[in-house]
């Protein structure tokens, strides 16, 4: 295995099983004991447009992708046109011989820019697949032509299935051929097929047969020994989770006690809500203090998931549920968050706990719905008129997605304010093998809540419950709608302690200060490890990289490579965006050579740091073409910064 692990890419038209094929591949690899990282790139389209799935794996953890492949698994012409020249020397292209004569003009989904690039490269407007393959060969890329139809014919003969029905398994041929040239254990591949198709017998059998026939074909063509990389299983002591960001957040919400989720469909947030709805019935552990035993109560809990008429309803409905006492949240992306802003302000004004999971995607406006970006940091920090406290936390990887999802509810209820969990398209749809969640370490803190007995005592003492009572912390005890022995009022207008409308200047000041005080308390109480991840702290590093969110992975991979070259790199990943850990950031960055890396145009975090600390980075690395940052491009960028050859702002432009 080379030092950047193995990169594999499968491409095809949207709706033809790219994701399924990739799942089989990375599941098999993970089953063989490897760490995998997978990312999906697709158009905002249901059928037909080009889509691809990238997987990198290694015997050590992998967190990012590179722009080049070791194996390109294709089953259509477009994938070859688009990707075949991105191979590393000695890499492999697997393709269907049926496409050899296809020309660029035969592929309508090949957009103009890409087509012209290809024509320009060949100085010819009639480039065919065989031309491209020849060109690739001249770069030292090996080609592995396979007659897909022949394989399917054999399967058809053996099973009596119609050939036309079998063509949808071309993806499995591409996957199986990839594994076959790696000398990968067929038995593990079959296990992976079983797992991906969830044991659906007929489908599993058919797909396994395709895998077998493909292995045979690869064997008979003598390809088995032609590829220089071989993969054999490695022993793992403990199991890992193979999971994506949407799923990790959904699971975090369940564990964190979220019992009401609203959503209006939007890429890339919807999968989370769909997953929650699929798991709406929950098992709960009951602890018997007498026997000091735990028992599982099957189906005793639930989460209600509501698809609303729009995002305004999504947030306001979640607020209603929160007022009634449920931990409530909603998930969305930029366009939806834009609509939620009014509700966000209401939550701030009325100190209602609510969690908004915000999956950033390419903006502005509809932007690039299926592509990633970190363009909404400033937006979520400032959204809404007026001033009120909010907590914003940005997760850097899939594990953080899980734990942060839980934390968000604690913050929201403890400090009685809206919490925005900031993630992005890249995290949502990337798959990784991660360590199992340490659920035992998690705690739930619902803050100060009065129940009917507390209220009875209050009443008996001749006192009235006041929802917004002034006290030293600014945090007034909450009660839920329907709690006996009291009532409350709330209003989006400025209000008195009882929750009735007021425009009195004295009360206004006190109420404003009460609300804002909570964020100071949060800033004091939230532990440093929840605010930042500070990797390799040092007083004499060659460079300090500052970043936030999903760029974490590629930066860690980068530091790993650079440290092997003797560089000393420090990494400050900022997680809590509001309240901002200004003091700590200032302490770390003062007098250092530091750069900021972000998946946006303007360097929003760099601006925020400047605002909070007065410090300015030495360099800014940004990327805004809708694609995540790759290891190879950031390596080149940071290397040239280290060598003092870089301009202030570096724009990364990689990605297909």
């Amino acid at each position: 295995m080379n030092n950047r692990g193995i990169s594999w890419l499968i491409g095809g038209a949207q709706g033809t099983g790219i994701e399924r094929g990739a799942s089989i591949f990375f599941t098999a690899i993970a089953m063989a004991g490897y760490y995998v990282f997978g990312k999906r790139e697709y158009h905002s389209n249901i059928m037909g447009e080009h889509s691809y799935y990238y997987v990198r794996f290694d015997s050590k953890p992998v967190y990012s992708h590179i722009e080049k492949y070791n194996i390109l698994a294709s089953y259509d012409a477009e994938t070859i046109f688009r990707h075949s020249l991105e191979g590393l020397p000695g890499s492999a292209i697997i393709y269907d011989t049926g496409y050899l004569n296809v020309k660029t003009k035969d592929v309508p989904t090949l957009d103009k820019r890409v087509r012209e690039d290809i024509h320009g490269r060949f100085n010819n407007n009639f480039v065919s697949i065989s031309d491209i393959i020849e060109e690739a060969k001249s770069y030292g890329i090996k080609s592995f032509p396979i007659n897909y139809k022949e394989i399917l014919n054999k399967v058809a003969l053996k099973t009596g299935e119609k050939l036309s029905e079998l063509t949808r398994m071309n993806n499995v041929i591409a996957v199986s051929a990839s594994l076959a040239i790696l000398k990968f254990d067929l038995a593990i591949l079959k296990k992976a097929i079983d797992r991906v198709f969830k044991g659906r017998k007929v489908v599993v059998k058919l797909n396994s047969l395709v895998a077998e026939e493909t292995y045979e074909m690869v064997n008979s063509l003598g390809y088995i020994n032609e590829f220089n990389i071989k993969i054999s299983p490695i022993e793992n002591k403990s199991k890992r989770l193979l999971i994506n960001g949407n799923q990790a957040i959904a699971l975090g919400k369940l564990v964190g006690g979220c019992r009401f989720q609203t959503y209006y469909p939007i890429t890339p947030a919807t999968d989370e809500s769909a997953y929650l709805e699929e798991h709406e019935i929950l098992d709960v552990e009951n602890y018997d203090p007498v026997k000091s035993e735990r028992e599982i109560l099957k189906g005793a809990g639930s989460i209600v998931v509501v698809e609303t008429e729009d995002e305004i309803a999504a947030i306001t409905m979640a607020l209603g549920a929160s007022l009634a006492g449920a931990r409530a949240s909603t998930s969305t992306s930029g366009p939806g968050f834009s609509l939620m802003v009014e509700g966000l302000g209401f939550a701030g004004m009325n100190e209602i706990p609510v969690v908004i999971t915000h999956y950033q995607r390419g903006g502005p406006s509809t932007g690039m719905p299926t592509r990633t970006e970190q363009g909404d940091l400033r937006f979520v920090l400032h959204a809404s008129h007026g001033e009120f406290p909010r907590i914003v936390i940005a997760s850097g990887d899939i594990s953080e997605c899980f734990y942060d999802a839980i934390r968000c509810f604690n913050y929201a209820e403890k400090y009685q304010l809206p919490v925005i969990h900031l993630v992005d398209r890249f995290l949502a749809h990337s798959v990784e093998t991660i360590e199992p969640f340490d659920i035992k370490s998690v705690r739930i803190d619902r803050g100060i809540i009065f129940d009917e007995n507390d209220l009875k005592k209050l009443k008996e003492g001749g006192e009235k419950y006041k929802r917004f009572i002034f006290n030293s912390t600014g945090i007034s005890p909450r009660i839920f709608l329907g709690t006996k022995n009291a009532v409350f009022w709330i209003t989006g207008d400025e209000h008195d302690e009882l929750g009735h409308i007021t425009e009195d200047p004295v009360i206004r000041d006190k109420m404003m200060e009460k609300r804002m005080k909570k964020i100071e308390i949060a800033e004091r109480e939230i532990p440093l490890e929840e605010k930042v991840n500070h990797f390799f702290p040092s007083y004499n590093s060659d460079l300090t990289i500052v970043s936030w969110g999903s760029t974490k992975g590629v930066i860690l991979d980068l530091i790993d490579e650079l440290s092997k070259e003797g560089y000393k790199i420090e990494f400050l990943q900022i997680r809590l965006m509001s309240p901002f850990p200004s003091n700590y950031v200032e302490k770390v960055l003062f007098n250092k050579k530091w750069i900021c890396v972000e998946n946006n145009y303007s360097g929003q975090l760099a601006g925020l740091i400047r605002e909070k600390t007065g410090l300015k980075p030495n360099n800014l690395i940004v990327k805004y073409n809708g694609r995540p940052i790759s290891l190879d491009e950031i390596y080149i960028a940071v290397k040239s910064i280290l060598e003092g050859k870089s301009s202030y702002k570096v724009v990364l432009r990689g990605g297909a």
Binding site: T262, L282, G301, E309, M317, G325, G343, I501
Partner: protein
């Protein structure tokens, strides 16, 4: 302890204009709650923004004065999280049928068990009398610079088309009758609309008390009744519905009040959730325990995690 009518009032100064129809609606709601003997602590009243939306502050019950047009989704969220609550939703005509029309329509699809009270004064009261979605085409109320250029929405028919399963109309100055309608609406299982004709003496100088009084009559006095059940035949249904539509469109020398429509065929949203989640009523979202006494989460996801373990 026996509840008194005064137990449903608050000390907050009521700041509607003198003669405003809202006073009558407020009294009707308070009397309805009193007569139904509802514990104020189990009643949640939601409103949007407008003169009408101030109502919750004047009622001793949980009062949630929300955003312009958004009272319904707040109310639905609360009701679904705690289905034991009695939920009332106060909408202005601009609030509910203008800015909040999407929520008004979509609430009908769900048939959550709640009561919507729509204050129809034909104007945007709180912003000084602009035309509301219920003002008829060509009318020029006091503060309009030009006659109204839009046609009017018919709230009864919109509610019917949207799926509300109880639709009634009352009049702000006829408190006993409005109280009766609100009680019926609260007792109805599902989404109920009470459309209230509400004079705004300050900005609507057309649909005044003097204008309404000679025109209003009660549907039941004419023997009208429209109840749809699973037993209703297709033929009967069509006959009843066409009469209902005729009555809903009646707006001239005669204007009907009363219960236009009751549909007993549909389950509530809560029942639909319960059909999917058997423990829902017993242990609704707002009532669920989510951690043990030590703060450890109690949601058990080991089974779910198997799908991901590799």
């Amino acid at each position: 302890m026996e509840l008194k009518l005064t137990d449903y009032r608050t000390e907050v100064h009521v700041n509607w204009c003198p003669g405003c129809g809202d006073y009558g609606i407020l009294s009707s709601i308070q009397q309805a709650l009193f007569e139904l003997k509802l514990d104020p602590s189990n009643v949640a009243i939601f409103s949007g923004i407008g003169c009408s939306a101030k109502t919750p502050h004047y009622i001793n019950a949980y009062g949630v004065h929300t955003l312009h047009g958004r009272a319904l989704p707040y109310a639905i969220g609360a009701k679904l999280a705690n289905p034991e609550l009695t939920v009332l939703v106060i909408l202005g005509d601009g609030d509910g049928l203008g800015i909040g029309a999407g929520h008004f329509v979509n609430a009908g699809r769900r048939n959550v068990d709640l009561t919507v009270i729509l204050y129809d004064n034909g104007v945007y009261g709180l912003t000084k009398g602009q035309a509301s979605p219920t003002l008829k085409l060509g009318l020029k109320t006091k503060s309009l610079p030009k006659p109204n250029i839009n046609q009017a929405i018919n709230p009864i028919l919109l509610a019917f088309a949207s799926g509300y399963t109880f639709i009634a109309r009352g009049y702000a100055y006829d408190v006993p009758y409005l109280k009766y309608l609100i009680k019926e609406a609260i007792n109805h299982k599902g989404s109920a609309l009470v459309h209230v004709l509400q004079p705004c003496p300050v900005y609507n100088d057309i649909n005044t008390k003097e204008w309404y009084t000679p025109r209003l009559y009660k549907l039941e006095q004419e023997g009208y009744e429209c109840i749809i059940t699973n037993e209703t035949t297709e033929e009967e249904y069509l006959r009843k519905i066409s009469l209902m539509i005729q009555k809903a469109n009646e707006w001239g020398n005669r204007i009907p009040l009363g219960i236009f429509y009751r549909d007993l065929r549909y389950t509530t949203y809560e029942e639909r959730i319960e059909a999917r989640i058997p423990s829902y009523r017993l242990n609704p979202p707002a009532k669920q325990k989510i951690s043990d006494p030590f703060g450890k989460p109690i949601t058990y996801i080991d089974k779910i995690l198997e799908e991901f373990l590799i």
